[in-house]
Structures are given as C-alpha cells and as structure tokens.
C-alpha cells in the first residue's frame, strides 16, 4: 500500500474543495430552477441541467485523475470552468428574455446571500 502511495500520490480530495461544494449547490439550484421555470420539454432545460452537472462531475474527475496526471486534472478543471460559464450565460439569457433585472454584486439581497 505504501509502495502504491509512493507511485500514485494522494488524490481525490475533491469533497473539501470550495469549488466542488459550490458547484454542487449550483447543480441542486439549477435542477429545481429548471423544473419550476423552464419548460420540461425544451432544449434549454436539458442544457442547463447538463451544464451544471458537468461542472460538478469534471471537478471531481479532475481531482481523482490528479494522482496520475496533472495535465488531465488541469484539462478537466478547465472543462468544468467552461461548463459553468455556459450555465452563467443561460441564466443571463433567462433574465433578459423574461424582462427581469440582473442584480449588481452590491445588491443588498445578494450581500445577504453570501
């Protein structure tokens, strides 16, 4: 076991990563949000849920792969980042198309959220 650990170092501690925890929360919110506000049969519904899921899964996969390949870890983290950027765009589109306002970071409601 020690020999194996010297060859493949510690890896897979993604559950302690802040990015993983937040991504998981975003996934949960997105699933609920899409069920409530986006038509179930629409393509956007699936796209948003999948983008959120991809964010979580790729962070976990990257962390798991870090033991053997740092390059793979980096690539997967980047894929997670890209998925979340895509999801961000979907939320912005939703707000714009529904005629709702996008809050600024200093909005009291968002300050209370953090």
């Amino acid at each position: 076991m020690d020999e194996l650990q010297s060859i493949i170092p510690k890896h897979g501690g993604y559950r302690n990563l802040k990015s993983f925890r937040i991504a998981q929360l975003i996934y949960d919110i997105t699933v609920q949000f899409c069920d409530c506000f986006i038509a179930k049969r629409s393509r956007t519904h699936d796209q948003m849920v999948q983008a959120a899921r991809s964010g979580v899964q790729n962070i976990a996969e990257g962390s798991q792969a870090s033991g053997t390949s740092k390059k793979t870890e980096m690539k997967l983290t980047n894929v997670a980042r890209a998925s979340l950027e895509e999801l961000k765009l979907d939320y912005c589109d939703f707000l714009r198309q529904s005629g709702l306002s996008r809050y600024k970071p200093e909005n009291p409601a968002l300050v209370r959220l953090k």
Partner: protein, 173 residues
Amino acid sequence: MKRCADLNDIRSWVKDEMRIKIENEKHGKSTDEHGRTRTNMDKNTDEHGRTRTNMDKEMDVDYTSSVIVRDSPCSSMLSVSSVSFSELIANAALSLLNLCCYFLDRQLAVQAKLLKTRVVLQKGFISGAKSIEKIAKICQFLESDWAGFIFSKSINISVIRSSRSVSLTLPIR
C-alpha cells in the same frame, strides 16, 4: 450573516427576501436594485411624467431646480412590486456561479504553476549545487500535499535544507 451552504439555506434566503420586500412595500419603501427609494424623477422625466428630450437638453432646460420630487414610488415600480421568485433564484445562481468560477480560476492558476515547475525540473540536470538548491526551494514551496507527485521513472535524491530532509525522485537524462 450566514453563508448559504445547501439548498435549504437558499430556500430560507428566498423566503427572507420575499418577506423583506413585502414589508418594504407595506411601508411604502419601494426601492431600486441598490436599495434606494425610486421616485418619479429617476427616469429622467419632467413633473408631468414626460421624458426629457434632446431638445430640452440642448436648450439647457433645468427641471431639477423647478420640479418638486414626489415622495411616492413611481407607477412603474408599483407594477413590478410583485417580487419574482425566478428573478431572485436566477440572481442567486449567478452570484454563486461567479464565486465558483473565481475559485476554479485560482485552482487552474495553481495547477498551471505546478505543471510548469514539473516541466522545468524534468528539463534540468540533477548534478551541480545550483540545481540542487533550486530543487530544495521548489520542495519548500510544494511541501506536504504536493511533494509526492512530481517525478516518475527516475532516481532518488535527498536534499537537506533548514534542518529538514526532503526526499526527491528526479528524472535520469
């Protein structure tokens, strides 16, 4: 102020926000996104609710000095006053997404730095005092979690620095 960690926290945040907005409306405190009370003058209109035109601006008609700003919220705000759940949740999700992207960017920056270090080490020679010093510095930087992963298919070397022994595996070139 508590940090939202799971879906239940988000639910209670939405409930709180709704309660705050409803209370504000009851007390006639309809506010804009910055928490400021909106009035009829906010939309650059005159006392009759007409929008100021370019002509007005060219003629330098100053309404602010002659118009009394009413205390009540403008009519457009009253119509929007029914708070939208979707707006709150979408904005919360966007805020969390920004935070997550920030953490991922930082993670990527660290990973890129480590990958670069690895490449530099694999290209360098293992002999010579200078390279050993360099390795020792990197060891200090990479200590604990990161020290193990760097090298493969290579020889072991021990570097003693600051009364600490660091065991390394370096590539044979």
